[in-house]
Subunit: 234 residues, 2 copies
């Protein structure tokens, strides 16, 4: 797609490009619009090494501030480690449930919010702020750009997984210190995401929290402003 | 693709799914691997409204913690506003350049790090931490999950733009206060990204910072650990 240099005199490394064809555009949008945060639809079937590699290559192709590539990926398959992670989730989840009251708490407790034991593979995505030295091009005025780059890697992986028929669930209900101790992650390295991965044969047609009555999709028009900030309507 | 309910007795809302076909998978990977952070290849041609809408719908389809959808999108086309944003960038960029020395500073100063004036459209992506009230499902133990959701929206938009033949550049060299004042963004709302968008007919075959000798791609194998954290090799 991007092999031929663009005419004579073009700057080195630039290649001609354009929009994808109709089917290819539709495929990209299908990945974006049918991706789900999966908690319970995982099949107990190993993910092939070459598939996992493609997902990690997709993550590694994310944009990163100053091209620092601050991410690392810890692949956890051990059932013992996943069991201990589940216990850490459970403790945190009990605390979180207590912050909601009455029907809302009952609904919260009815939701399945992780697939740590059911999904055969967990990928923990971390961010090393020191990966490119203390001064990083583009990070000086926004010190969180390294973590933002790492989140872009997560989203790349998630969309690639969708195309591969693999579900991904992002678990965020943990005490950071529990996961850090469990996996031996040094203090200076930030834990960005615990992802659960496994093949899926079913996905919700809409986000699960909408279907289950937790919270509905907002109208996009309310989230768009022209030229400067306006408070959302309503 | 996801219309038919899955047999009798299936949970409401679940639909059969599977991997995309070979061409569709290739399209998703092409978007991921040929996406670039564009600074100088923007064409001076308006982006049609329906195209911009598709990009914003892609962003709005991002995962969000507790389905809070904390993002807003400020569309800036005004040349005056973009000129003032460029001035804010320039001041910050001079400060940033001063943190590098000798050849490194010369190389830094030779890089074009924004396309604010050249790209016809800027989209500023913000995160409202109060969008779903003070207690958000999944945010209690990681208060930055709202911003991470917003970054997922940015990456969705970026990949959709690639498929549309639209280049995107993320500008992070600003004092937050300058952009806040310029666009009237309230203090409680976080500014996550200033994105420059425009049609492109050329893209770099590799990340621009690698081609220009700033920093090279790291070997993926050095960034993968099995079962628990290991310090990167070397």
């Amino acid at each position: 797609m991007m092999d031929a240099p663009h005419g004579s005199g073009a700057e080195a490394g630039l290649c001609p490009t354009g929009p994808f064809d109709r089917e290819a555009r539709a495929a990209v949008y299908a990945a974006i619009h049918t991706r789900r945060d999966v908690r319970d639809q995982f099949l107990d079937r190993c993910l092939p090494e070459d598939l996992v590699r493609r997902l990690l290559e997709a993550a590694h192709a994310a944009p990163s501030v100053g091209f620092m590539q601050p991410w690392s990926f810890i692949l956890v398959r051990s059932p013992e480690t996943r069991e201990r992670a589940y216990e850490a989730f459970s403790r945190a989840n009990d605390e979180a449930a207590g912050l909601f009251v009455d029907e809302r708490q009952a609904l919260y407790r009815s939701l399945k919010l992780e697939g740590i034991r059911k999904a055969p593979l967990s990928i923990i995505v971390t961010c090393d702020p020191d990966r490119a030295g203390p001064v990083v091009l583009g990070r000086t005025h926004n010190p969180r750009m390294d973590v933002y780059s790492t989140v872009c890697a997560v989203q790349n992986l998630w969309l690639a997984a969708r195309a591969e028929g693999v579900g991904v669930g992002w678990v965020s209900i943990f005490h950071d210190s529990d996961v850090r101790a469990l996996l031996g992650i040094p203090e200076r390295v930030e834990i960005v995401a615990w992802l659960c991965l496994g093949y899926v044969e079913e996905l919700y047609a809409q986000p699960e929290l909408a279907l289950k009555g937790w919270r509905q999709r907002l109208p996009l028009d309310d989230l768009i402003c022209e030229e400067r900030w306006q408070d959302p309507a309503g």
